[in-house]
């Protein structure tokens, strides 16, 4: 059995990493026609852009491999690199704080802001601060946090939640954004002009004017980090609007909250990711605003909060640690057929989409997030799109094995495995399944089945089992094995009798076409044949 890892710190406050069961949330989402249209349009546009700019890089696959290799090497040497980062940041006038979980990180940031006497802060878009619920923690301490990324501003003003890692307001269209600006801006700052149209330029202009005042007033800024270069203690924020640079340069105090996996060893490594990230995320050849800073600049105070929040637990799982390669580009969301139809809110976590279905349960523990690993058809589009080659489908399957299974499902899966454990039992099941023909109406189609199979027949017919199965046909046309009758009582006993059983006998009429089955002897009672399956079916234990 796969190992489970206990005792390492997990994200204690899971509020921002889990929601209602995915199938329940998804049912409402797929019925929302506005959402379906907004998402369909937006993901199709980003997909096309990404495909175009990725396609023009001749060594894209080599870049992907390099990105994966660098991240793997970072993860293998994280202990040393983090200490190196700390000493380099400290040497350059910054202060480094270590946070085990969300509560610790929020407490550190809150006390740092309090120490400045500020009652409001401006924020650069940051997944780490969303993961820990920093805005809510600051609000509880009487500190207002203003999001300055356009899409985050839309989400914040709309009292909404982000639904995409990169494009948090992807579920909103222009008309909805105009309404939010007109309704909400006045209460928290400069109002939107009364004659605001829903043209992108007009909306951006209203946001720019609203935000400009926030930038100029703010004494404290809070950011995340896309990368941190260990060798020089340099942090980097990669953004498209210039709001990040305003936040990083204008206020007197800068606080950056960063997941411990964001490291790269040297500047040369950064070269790989600054090619992979913009093409994968926004479909741009080069990122518009790339800010880098090493420690504190003169006249400014700089604090770096290094966040674990479940990451070392992920790191300790050999089958799961590749998720820490993630650079939050969102390429997997944009190509995911599930995400495209449900949107991000259905995932209930700040990390939605395929990588969210992996990362959220990893950070919270699978028991806390049992439906997300199943929120995928395993189509594999995410793996192909991932710039650091995270094999998301395989990781989802791994997490599924750790999920608590419903008792009824477990019983069915064990029974099926038991039946498939021997050809005698299996062919008996095939024969018995012919009775299913009675369920089909005149058209030979099954239209309704009891739960849980009603999930299938709610929207899909099922063909009745065939009058003549393949094995019967094979016997009729090629000779050889016949379908055995139902096994005699005593499920395991009859199997042990295996090799000589009727299912394994081949008739003499087939000639060259009838293959001799050299594996026959192994068929019914091979060392692994019936035994383990039987043990499993009889509760042989985990």
């Amino acid at each position: 059995m796969t190992q489970t890892f206990l005792g390492l710190p997990r994200a204690v406050d899971t509020e921002h990493l889990r929601g209602q069961p995915f199938p329940v949330a998804a049912r409402a989402a797929v019925a929302d026609s506005q959402l379906r249209r907004n998402l369909g349009n937006a993901t199709a546009t980003i997909r096309a852009k990404r495909a175009r700019v990725v396609g023009e890089v001749p060594d894209w696959e080599a870049l992907r491999s390099a990105g994966a290799a660098i991240k793997d090497s970072v993860l293998a040497n994280l202990d040393e690199l983090l200490v190196q980062l700390e000493s380099e940041v400290t040497r350059r006038g910054g202060t480094v704080h270590w946070a085990r979980d969300a509560a610790e990180a929020n407490a550190i940031v809150t006390s740092l802001v309090r120490a400045t006497g500020a009652h409001e802060v401006v924020k650069v878009k940051s997944m780490a601060t969303q993961e820990i619920g920093l805005n809510e923690a600051l609000a509880a301490a009487g500190i207002a946090a203003w999001e300055t990324d356009l899409a985050e501003l839309i989400v914040q003003l709309g009292h909404d939640k982000p639904s995409h890692i990169l494009v948090p307001a992807i579920h909103r269209n222009r008309a909805e954004i105009r309404e939010i600006f007109l309704r909400e801006m006045a209460a928290v700052g400069l109002p939107a002009p009364a004659d605001l149209s829903d043209s992108p330029a007009a909306l951006a202009d209203a946001a720019r004017r609203h935000l400009r005042r926030k930038f100029l007033d703010a004494r404290v800024a809070i950011s995340g980090a896309n990368f941190a270069v260990a060798s020089t203690g340099t942090l980097s924020v990669v953004e498209s609007e210039g709001n990040g640079r305003m936040c990083i340069t204008l206020p007197r105090t800068l606080i950056s909250v960063m997941g411990i996996e964001k490291l790269v060893p040297t500047w040369a490594d950064l070269e790989v990711f600054l090619q992979l990230l913009p093409r994968s995320s926004t479909g741009e050849r080069m990122n518009p605003y790339t800010s880098m800073w090493s420690g504190a600049v003169e006249g400014q105070e700089f604090h770096l909060v290094l966040l674990d929040n479940g990451r070392t637990a992920v790191l300790s799982d050999p089958s799961g640690r590749a998720a820490l390669r993630c650079i939050r580009c969102s390429a997997c969301l944009n190509v995911c057929p599930v995400y495209e139809r449900t949107g991000g809110h259905a995932y209930g976590s700040v990390y939605p989409g395929p990588i969210g279905a992996v990362l959220s349960p990893q950070l919270t523990g699978v028991a806390e997030n049992p439906t997300l690993p199943f929120a995928s058809s395993l189509c594999g589009a995410c793996y192909d799109a991932c710039p650091v080659a995270i094999d998301i489908p395989t990781m989802l399957v791994h997490l599924r094995s750790q999920a608590p299974h419903p008792a009824a499902e477990r019983a069915v899966m064990r029974s099926v495995a038991y039946a498939m454990g021997s050809p005698r039992r299996w062919t008996a099941v095939l024969s018995a399944s012919r009775a299913g023909r009675l369920l089909g109406g005149r058209r030979g189609r099954i239209r309704a089945l009891p739960p849980p199979l009603s999930g299938w027949t709610a929207s899909r017919d099922l063909p009745v089992p065939p009058a003549e199965g393949f094995r019967d046909w094979w016997t009729r046309t090629h000779g050889g094995p016949t379908t055995p009758s139902l096994p005699s009582p005593g499920p395991t006993g009859s199997d042990v009798a295996g090799p000589g059983a009727s299912g394994q006998r081949r008739g003499g009429s087939g000639g060259a076409r009838t293959g001799v089955d050299p594996a026959e002897a192994a068929g019914g009672s091979g060392p692994g044949g019936a035994g383990p399956a039987a043990a499993g079916a009889e509760g042989g234990g985990e």
Binding site: S319, R341, V397, P463, R471, G480, P481, E520
Partner: protein, 288 residues
């Protein structure tokens, strides 16, 4: 060549026509097909639903059943994907390293039908005749686990009389996903709805694929809505010799090269359907 048939449990239970067609096709091409009766299931459903312990005996069964054969074929990209990408890992995660090695060796000689025909047997014109309007859904695991590329389309383009039309958004999942179709029925159905819209847009009478599982899903939806569009396995089309007398079929089969170029016109568009990046396909591929 002597070829062992791995039927797959789904073909065994509800889709025997795909199995029969696979046998008939390979025999028509002059090969010997063997059906080892010890086979049951590759175990993919158990692995993908989170039951690796229950899958382990099925992996072992597959290994023991097919180890003696030189070449194994299955009419399913998904099951071959499981054999190739999951079997050894399942064995290894249970500490069964020897079994893992055997599984890896068998995986290397297990082929999906279009791979066997094009790569191993070196044939694209199998002498089939199928005078119907057909659109082809390439299936996720054939595309992204096995990377079969345009092999199924190469085979279909050589079929006489076929009117092969490109499926818009072909590389997008139909929403089946095994137990996903039941556990997340609403999302699965939403995906299916879009796939059916694409199929209906082609005005094809047949939606074909190389996987009975995806066909069960797409076909179940098409049937429920009385669309009048049927699903047919790739093997059934390649085995078909509709409107061709035995003798003529044999003749045209040997005269492989020339005969199918004549029918090429309408298929040229469909030919573009298989380029690797899904996003660019829609831009380049002309609708029929």
């Amino acid at each position: 060549m002597r070829i062992a048939l791995f039927l797959t449990c789904l073909v065994d239970t509800v889709a025997p026509a795909a199995g029969r067609a696979t046998v008939q096709l390979l025999e028509r091409l002059g090969h010997e097909v063997v059906f080892p009766p010890g086979q049951t299931c590759c175990g993919q459903m158990h692995v993908n639903t989170g039951y690796p312990d229950e899958a382990l005996p099925l992996v072992r069964r597959y290994v023991e059943t097919f180890e003696p054969y030189e070449v194994v074929v299955a009419p399913s990209g998904s099951c071959v994907g499981s054999v190739r990408h999951q079997h050894a890992a399942v064995a290894r995660s249970h500490g069964e390293d020897a079994l893992a090695e055997r599984a890896a060796a068998i995986a290397a000689k297990t082929y999906e039908l279009s791979e066997l025909l094009v790569d191993v047997l070196g044939v694209t014109d199998v002498g089939a005749s199928y005078p119907h309007r057909v659109t082809y859904h390439p299936t996720c695991h054939s595309l992204r686990m096995l990377r079969v590329g345009d092999k199924p389309l190469q085979l279909l383009r050589a079929v006489r009389g076929i009117d092969l039309v490109e499926l818009p958004g072909a590389e997008e999942c139909c929403g089946f996903g095994g137990t996903f179709a039941v556990k997340n029925a609403d999302t699965s159905t939403a995906m299916l709805a879009d796939k059916m819209r694409s199929v209906l847009d082609t005005r094809a009478e047949i939606c074909a694929a190389g996987d009975s599982s995806c066909l069960l899903h797409i076909g179940g939806g098409l049937s429920r809505l009385r669309t009048g569009v049927r699903t047919v396995h790739l093997a059934e089309i390649l085995a078909a010799q509709e409107g061709v007398s035995r003798a003529a079929a044999g003749e045209s089969h040997t005269a492989a090269g020339g005969s199918h170029t004549a029918a090429g016109g309408s298929r040229a568009a469909a030919g573009g359907a298989s380029g690797p990046p899904p996003e660019r396909r829609s831009a380049s591929g002309g609708k029929s």
